[in-house]
């Protein structure tokens, strides 16, 4: 069976505005990403700010134009799909944005917010009161919330309203951009439990964009690690966590301080900051910060290779494991 969503060699290119002395060029915010999302499964995309994860998500949702490559949804090409055609698909592919309060209009009641998708899709003949009640119950909010305004609810509740609105039309694919950013841990747990429950109930496929590895670990089936617009490692979540192949994945895992003052961390410290996407390093893009850098890394671009079910782009995978073995 083919996947629900097939992303193949997608590039999202932005034009730069030229200054007085510089000529305009282009940058590849997403630079050749391929991945599959299966029906009813969760795929996590992890990376730092500026790694292109949100751009990729927006390309899938039709909010950015993919300059190259193909995005197939149930076999249908989404790249260059006319907006009128895409609008029909927005019943099936929905996006939940990062800022939960900011994405809710302050002048509309919760009821009009969560039933707006019906109006946009020309389904206003439905009983909107009943739909609002159904959706609020589904995300665990009391039906009385329908009459409230966004400023009358908390951040965690606003996220739930965001989920209700995204799921109003019974979509097949939910794209969730940082669904837990800025939430306290206990509310973060509630949010993730809610997504997991709805996925089981509705058979949703979910694409989660996050920089929080703790979130990815529990809720996703597969995970892809992005760096400077490219995937550097991809595989089943548990395997990637147990045996990361790429040093960047290892660094991300290690940079996740544990709530235990005596935790012995295998800390891989990165030097410096992520390079600018305007000046992409030659060879392996990660070599400027990689603690295990070798001469070859600055000249040759690593190709994909696989280790079990995990694929990665590193010339010297698991060099950290070898170093560990050498020191012990």
């Amino acid at each position: 069976m083919s996947a629900l969503l097939e992303i193949r060699d997608v590039f999202v290119r932005f034009k730069l505005r030229g200054g007085v002395f510089s000529s305009a060029g282009t940058i590849d915010a997403v630079s050749g990403v391929s991945l599959d999302i299966e029906e009813g499964k969760t795929y996590g995309i992890v990376g730092e700010s500026g790694s292109g994860k949100t751009t990729l998500a927006r390309a899938v949702a039709g909010l950015h134009h993919a300059s190259e490559g193909s995005i197939l949804y149930r076999g249908q090409e989404l790249v260059d799909l006319p907006e009128a055609e895409f609008r029909k698909l927005r019943r099936e592919i929905v996006m939940m944005f990062q800022d939960p309060i900011g994405s809710l209009s302050p002048r509309l009641t919760i009821k009009s917010l969560i039933t707006e998708p019906f109006r946009i899709q020309g389904m206003s003949d439905r009983d909107l009161d009943a739909e609002a009640k159904r959706l609020l119950t589904m995300v665990g909010l009391p039906p009385e919330f329908a009459a409230r305004y966004p400023y009358q609810i908390s951040g965690g509740q606003a996220r739930r309203v965001g989920v209700a609105r995204a799921l109003a039309l019974d979509p097949k694919l939910l794209i969730a951009d940082e669904p837990t950013a800025g939430l306290d841990v206990s509310i973060q747990g509630e949010m993730l439990n809610l997504l997991a429950r709805l996925q089981d109930e509705l058979g949703l496929a979910i694409m989660i964009i996050t920089h929080n590895l703790n979130v990815v670990r529990h809720i996703t089936d597969k995970v892809g690690i992005m760096y400077l617009g490219k995937l550097v490692e991809e595989g089943p979540t548990e395997e990637v966590f147990a045996r990361p192949q790429h040093p960047y994945t290892l660094a991300l895992l290690a940079a996740n301080p544990e709530p235990d003052p005596d935790a012995q961390l295998m800390r891989v410290e990165l030097q410096g900051e992520p390079p600018s996407i305007l000046r992409r390093p030659k060879g392996c893009e990660f070599h400027t910060r990689c603690p295990f850098v070798q001469p070859r890394c600055s000249t040759d671009v690593p190709a994909w290779s696989s280790h079990g079910a995990v694929a990665h782009r590193c010339h010297f995978p698991e060099i950290w494991a070898q170093e560990d073995a050498a020191t012990t």
Partner: protein, 323 residues
Amino acid sequence: MAVLDIRDLSVSYATPRGPLKALRNVSMTIPEKKITGIVGESGCGKSTLISSIIRLMAPNAKVGSGEVRFKGENLLARSENEMRALRGTEISMVFQDPMQTHNPVLTVGRQMIDIQYRDKLSKAEKRKRAAGMLALVGIPDPEARLNQYPFEFSGGMRQRIAIAMALMAKPSLLIADEPTTALDATLEVQIIKRLRELQDEIGCSILFISHHLGVIAELCDEVVVMYAGEVVESGTVRDVFHNPAHPYTRALLECDPGHIKVRTRNLPTIPGNIPDLVNLPSGCIFAERCDKRHDACAARPAMGTASPGHHAACHLIAERVTA
């Protein structure tokens, strides 16, 4: 010796519904030359606490009772001019958002020289000192970078510049309000490590506010747990994280997905919401959400001692001692 000693501090905000009691009888001591973490969820009063310490409070805030003693002297009794002399020299602060901390139309060097206005040094000397501070926080090529504007630096670097500026006058107390939340994980680790080294070098105390338990565990010596405007537990990081004495602390630790190594689709949560701070419940502030709630919780618990230097406001402690 404590650099900061907060005693019985209560602060409320005037709202149309009546006074919102944001802090109630908060007491804590920030020891010298140590890093103390304050942890708590949104609405626990962290920000109100900081603004009371540096006396930059919202116009509708009112101090009901208490003292903020800095090196033995009550800051709440100081005049505005005296406070101004203190800020940036004895007590300085690093804010949450590194993107909005700096003036966008002045070079970093100009801003770093400007804040030394109290010192009688030549401009060249001040500039040299600024470059030295940038080097100290790990910014390569500091001399040249002084001529750049904030937008030419990345988020991690801007936060480091903010730290450099805050430490310029070698303060006795640095208050850091969630300085790493706007940063990515790998940069967060770099900043934390640098803060630790700087604290060692300068010998100041740091009050570090965060809701990220992992960061607190990694960086701090002592920790104060706040809930809905009250201190519920305090002690060394080891005591509090290994043997939490208050059910709220325990619940908070259990909720942290960093703690849970086995994959689960059902993460622990703390059911319920924080109480309304205008209409407070009469007994224990956490009782409504507590799984250990019993009859005694109808009365507000006093701060009890779980072990030397480890305190919590829970009836269970007193009951355990008498049982």
